[in-house]
Amino acid sequence: MTAVGTEGAAVALDIHARTSTRRKVIDAFFKLFLWISLGIALGTLITILIDLITEGWPRLNPALITNMPSARPERAGIQSAIFGSLWVVGTTAAISIPTGVGAAIYLEEFAKRDRWYNRLIELNIQNLASVPSVVYGILGLAFIARGFLSLGFTVLTAALILTLVVLPTVVIASREALRAVPNSLRYGSLALGATEWETVYRQVLPAAVPGIATGTILSTSRALGESAPLLLVGALTFVTFNPDGFDSPYTVLPLAIFRFISEARIEFRPLAAAASVVLLFLLMGMNSLAIYVRSRYEKKLR
């Protein structure tokens, strides 16, 4: 039995690099594995970006954006898709942001936490956030495009479906922004005789606006990149005009890319790459806007 106690002068006082080599070797291999993981993850991202730019380079010119889709690759462009995306995503934002923020205000500021129906709503939103987006497409096909609302394959249909897709995220992000507002602000307002609604409207919301803005911009950018649900409601059709109303047929940028990819002719491949670059550019623009809003907010706090 080894002595559990001081070893003192009896044993070598050598504390120089005695940790067994075995441990050190394992340490080194582990660190190598971590580096490799990081390398693969980042390397893949860089590969994707480089591939898109190199393949799309020949078609990355203004004609890409001014041309309409065409059966002839040399004349094809994505104008209808860009405008279609603007219409659809804009409408989606217009519907989902008020609804989502309103729901968040209710849940954060008014709802009593211990009531069962409020907890049901919370649980429900969490579940909806993890439903595959294609299921929302099915819902749209059954009730919005056909069935009850029978809106057909139009801009409004697409916007309503995408609203459902991003709504849980808008609610969750807005709730976090509201939660971040310190309670001292609320108490101060209430103590001065304001109603709860006035407190929210005049104190909490203005303070939470930057956080809500960040969250909603990010959710909307997600709507811009969605493809699966819209496959089921006609966004893949060959559309050579810009939308002229909410009841207009349409296409969106991700699905224009999908079309280009699906074309058998190899000349469409650079188009797919170029259109992807445009899409990524738009997304990065939106995300940068969100980050900018967030950082201006943080600066204000200092």
Partner: protein, 292 residues
């Protein structure tokens, strides 16, 4: 320290501390000044980037004694303690100057392996931090990573016995350590620290998160542990230092023009002398409760 500083700091009740006679605490006559110095600290300063948290500390820690670091909060006691096992290495901005010698070896020199050092110098923290594992696995952790070739069951039992915990947990070694009470968890942390056969055990305010009864048990335990280990304890409770320690270092803090606080050593002596006839007026002011 100016009177303004005294007033600014929280004061405890006035009056000299009552010395409780605990068995084992050495009084002045018994302390051997020729006992081997296990840790010799000379000119220790710790910087966080440009800010000097602690300056010029000289403390000799003698073998098989209990040495206490006392002083008002914020004077860097924990920072100093963490230099002894190089835990300050884990903080990016921390920088250590001066020398800390362990059995004559400067632990901050090239070639010294902090992992091995921490096997030889154990630490118990302010808030008990058992791993969310079984009691057995908690105690066995240090020996296992250290590659000890022993009968683990025996080692675990002996460690828990020395920490005065064995009788209470011997039937539930495979249960979660988190099910234990606060005082039991802290004794488990002590058992876990001594399982690696250290020479020295560092204790950073080990009782501040515990109730008085648990505190008393741990203070009794310290007297038993003193027979085999050197103990260095940081405490903000000076009555505790008076009760358990053999030697005491009194530190306090200097506030500079910008409001930055730098800790420094005021006095280091046997506990007896510090609490009955301190040499420095600051020490006397602190122990009589004129400032906290």
């Amino acid at each position: 320290m100016t009177d303004k500083d005294y007033a600014a700091v929280r004061t405890e009740k006035a009056g000299p501390p009552i010395r409780v006679e605990t068995p084992g605490a050495m009084n002045d006559a018994e302390l051997h000044n020729d006992a081997e110095i296990v840790f010799d600290v000379v000119g220790l300063s710790v910087y966080y980037r440009d800010f000097q948290a602690v300056r010029d500390i000289d403390i000799p820690v003698r073998q098989k004694e209990i040495t206490a670091l006392i002083g008002p909060s914020g004077c860097g006691k924990s920072t100093i303690l963490r230099c002894f096992n190089r835990m300050n290495d884990l903080i990016e901005e921390a920088r250590v100057e001066g020398s800390v010698r362990f059995h004559g070896i400067d632990i901050y020199q090239e070639g010294v392996d902090p992992v091995e050092l921490r096997r030889r110098v154990g630490m118990v923290f302010q808030k008990p931090n058992p791993f969310p594992k079984s009691i057995y696995d908690n105690v066995a952790f240090g020996p296992r990573v250290g590659g000890f070739r022993v009968n683990m069951d025996d080692l675990v039992e002996e460690s828990l016995t020395r920490a005065a915990l064995w009788e209470e947990v011997k039937d539930k070694l495979s249960e979660s350590a988190l099910a234990l009470s606060g005082g039991q968890q802290q004794r488990l942390c002590i058992a876990r620290a001594i399982a690696t056969s250290p020479d020295v055990v560092l204790m950073d305010e080990p009782c501040s998160a515990l109730d008085p009864i648990a505190t008393l048990r741990i203070e009794e335990l310290m007297q038993e542990l003193k027979e085999d280990y050197t103990i260095l304890i940081v405490t903000h409770n000076m009555q505790q230092a008076a009760r358990v320690s053999d030697r005491t270092a009194f530190l306090t803090v200097d506030v500079n023009a910008v409001g930055q606080r730098t800790g420094y050593l005021v006095e280091f002596d046997t506990t007896d002398r510090i609490f009955t006839s301190p040499a420095r007026p600051e020490t006397e002011a602190y122990i009589t409760g004129r400032f906290g």
